[in-house]
Amino acid sequence: MNDSDNVKFRLNNSELWGGLIGFGLGIFVIRAGLKLKLGTVNDPGSGYVLFYTGILICLFAGTIIVTALTEGGPTFGSRWANARWTKPAIVIACLVAFALALDPLGFLLSSIPLVLLLMRLIDPVRWELAIPVSVLVPAGMWWLLKHALGIQLPSGMFGIG
């Protein structure tokens, strides 16, 4: 790691942000534990373990924050150096779009475009291979699940599948 990739009191110190997110989560868990009631040590309540786990989360997150501030940590940029960061971003976008489409459109109408897009947008597969694979595999899986295992995948508002 270059010196410029290791920062201490800077907003792009990735270690610092990791610790801060953990700390925030710890506070949330402590509050949830308190809300659920701690009970007593001889009759612990529903929030007992949550509360103490929240304290531990804050403790470990605090350690990470202190280490990030004293020893520094890699910048966000260096974490993604030499990586094609747009590729996972595209996959995530495709998955989110799929998640939104799954219920209204059903499995077949949402999964065929998903597979096709993933094949074409990351490291492009030839159209003559991408189209048959993206149609036949989801359709084949749907058929197998429906007829062999009796599992009904979502059919959506058009009732396809």
Binding site: S46, T53, F60, I64, T67, P88, A99, L102, I122, V125
Partner: protein
């Protein structure tokens, strides 16, 4: 005599045609995911977890177990021929295995790896048959305090062995516990962290969490880099090792087997730790350590035996105590629970057919793997040529289908995608998912045993240190927690720290 009768009974169960078929499917898929980089046994097992519902508990668990030890065999093929570990336990095999392949000795490397795996697998099974019933009879005396401390130890060992900062690993374990507690409180039936969503009343599903953190996140990481494969193109011949190869490998194989078996039993340990430890041991014992890294067959035989022995040993804590020692065993526990079974000290007596059937099937599976991995090696080499840009969309599709089938609920698909994205950022920021998943599974058990032991002891916290087994576990856990603060131990930890989840 009893053991022999039980083994015979187990073979009766395992040799039933349907169980043989499931065993074959398991080891075949195991070899397949072992061979293919980018998909490991954890993803494959979580993908197939719903399939186990369609058959008997024996068939489903036989198949799941087959995937696990099958992947240990298959992983070595990719390591030797492509220099990419098919799964994490085969990382070490790349070092000398691929060097041997480059020197035209891919055949003996693959051969010794398969025979070493078979030998170790067989030993582990015999030891499992002998040790498990004895340990189960001891475990009956375990109370909630012992179970609690043992689970704490398991989590601490795993965080100790996880790559990178221990604070991060412990943070992940704590988050895993919290996620495991989502849903109804098992004692008071009060909903916790459900945010008013009915889907969360039963808790977050194991399958979407694992598929997201390991399956989807792995794909996201892999798409960042174009995977370059340098496959050995020469024809693979002489799979049977020579006399010299056998002589050089016998010792490492034996030592790797014993070391791997005991490391497999330890909570938090597993096949990955075993293979690294065996490699380090062989290098240290060798009169010519400089050959290691340059194609030493001992560097293949020892670790391959160790990871297979560990895979067998890992069944012991699950079968006898009901505590999964690693993520793979946590998934197997999930398979048991799906069928309404609870592994633990009573399972061996109450479900003798199931226990001995699984053990016997593992032996049969080992034989199948020998056939799958030696005469059929050419088929696996062809499979290695399947481009990742075709493979990964299909992995994504299968994970979606697997998650949906596990619960017939679209919400779980959303959970998987969310955990996939979280898992990706976690890995980028150096947070390992393995402690989170193990803690997620152990969380509810951990809480239950803690609360039970506090109620039974009327709030006396000394119950955890006055009971010898509990005290020993906690002392060991504390030692591991403060260990990394000492420079010498920190250095040692960095040497053995591993990426369990890869």
């Amino acid at each position: 005599m009893d053991t022999l009768l039980n083994v015979a009974h187990g073979f009766g169960v395992a040799l039933a045609p349907i169980n043989l078929l499931y065993c074959f499917i398991g080891v075949f898929i195991g070899t397949l995911v072992g061979v293919l980089p980018g998909i490991g046994p954890i993803s494959a097992m979580s993908l197939l977890l719903p399939v186990t519902l369609s058959g008997t508990p024996e068939s489903g668990i036989i198949m799941m177990a087959g995937i696990y030890y099958g992947s240990m065999y298959g992983g070595s093929t990719t390591s030797i021929l492509v220099n990419i570990p098919g799964e994490a336990a085969s990382v070490v095999t790349c070092i000398d295995g691929h060097e041997m392949a480059k020197q035209g000795r891919a055949g003996p490397a693959l051969g010794i790896s398969a025979f070493g795996s078979f030998f170790a697998g067989t030993f582990a099974l015999i030891a499992l048959m002998l040790v498990a019933p004895k340990l189960a009879s001891v475990a009956i005396a375990f109370g909630p305090a012992e179970y609690f401390s043992l689970m704490v130890l398991g989590l601490v060992v795993l965080t100790f062995l996880t790559q990178g900062s221990m604070a991060k690993a412990l943070l992940m374990a704590c988050i895993g516990v919290v996620l495991g507690l989502v849903g109804l409180d098992s004692i008071t039936a009060q909903p916790r962290l459900t945010f008013g969503r009915l889907e969360l009343i039963d808790g977050i599903g194991l399958v979407p969490v694992v598929m997201g953190l390991f399956g989807v996140a792995e794909v996201l990481i892999n798409t960042e880099q174009a995977i370059r494969r340098d496959i050995i193109n020469a024809k693979i011949t002489h799979l049977l090792p020579s006399k010299q190869d056998w002589q050089a490998s016998a010792g490492p194989m034996g030592r790797g087997t014993i070391l791997g078996f005991f490391l497999g039993i330890l909570p938090g340990g597993g096949a990955v730790v075993a293979s690294f430890a065996s490699y380090a041991l062989e290098k240290r014992l060798s009169k010519t350590p400089e050959r290691f890294g340059n194609g030493a067959i001992e560097g293949v035989a020892g670790p391959e035996a160790a990871n297979n022995a560990a895979a067998g040993g890992a069944f012991i804590p699950l079968m006898t105590l009901g505590i999964p020692p690693n993520v793979v065993m946590a998934l197997l526990l999930g398979a048991f629970v799906i069928h309404g079974l609870q592994p633990g000290p009573l399972m061996i007596t109450q479900n003798a057919g199931l226990f001995w059937g699984i053990v016997a099937s593992m032996y049969i599976g080992n034989l199948m793997l020998l056939v799958l991995n030696l005469p059929m090696i050419g088929m696996w080499v062809q499979l290695l040529r399947l481009p990742y840009n075709i493979l990964f969309p299909l992995i994504i599709l299968f994970t979606i289908i697997g998650v949906y089938c596990s619960s017939n609920n679209v919400f779980d698909v959303y959970v998987m995608i969310a955990f996939g994205v979280i898992g990706y950022f976690m890995r980028k920021l150096g947070y390992e998912p393995a402690p989170l998943v193990l803690a997620f599974v152990l969380g509810p058990m951990l809480e239950n045993n803690l609360r039970k032991s506090l109620i039974l002891s009327q709030g006396d916290l000394s119950t955890f240190v006055t009971r010898p087994i509990s005290a020993a576990c906690l002392i060991f856990a504390v030692a591991l927690l403060i260990g990394p603060l000492l420079p010498a131990l920190r250095k040692k930890r960095e040497l053995v720290a591993l990426d369990e989840g890869a």
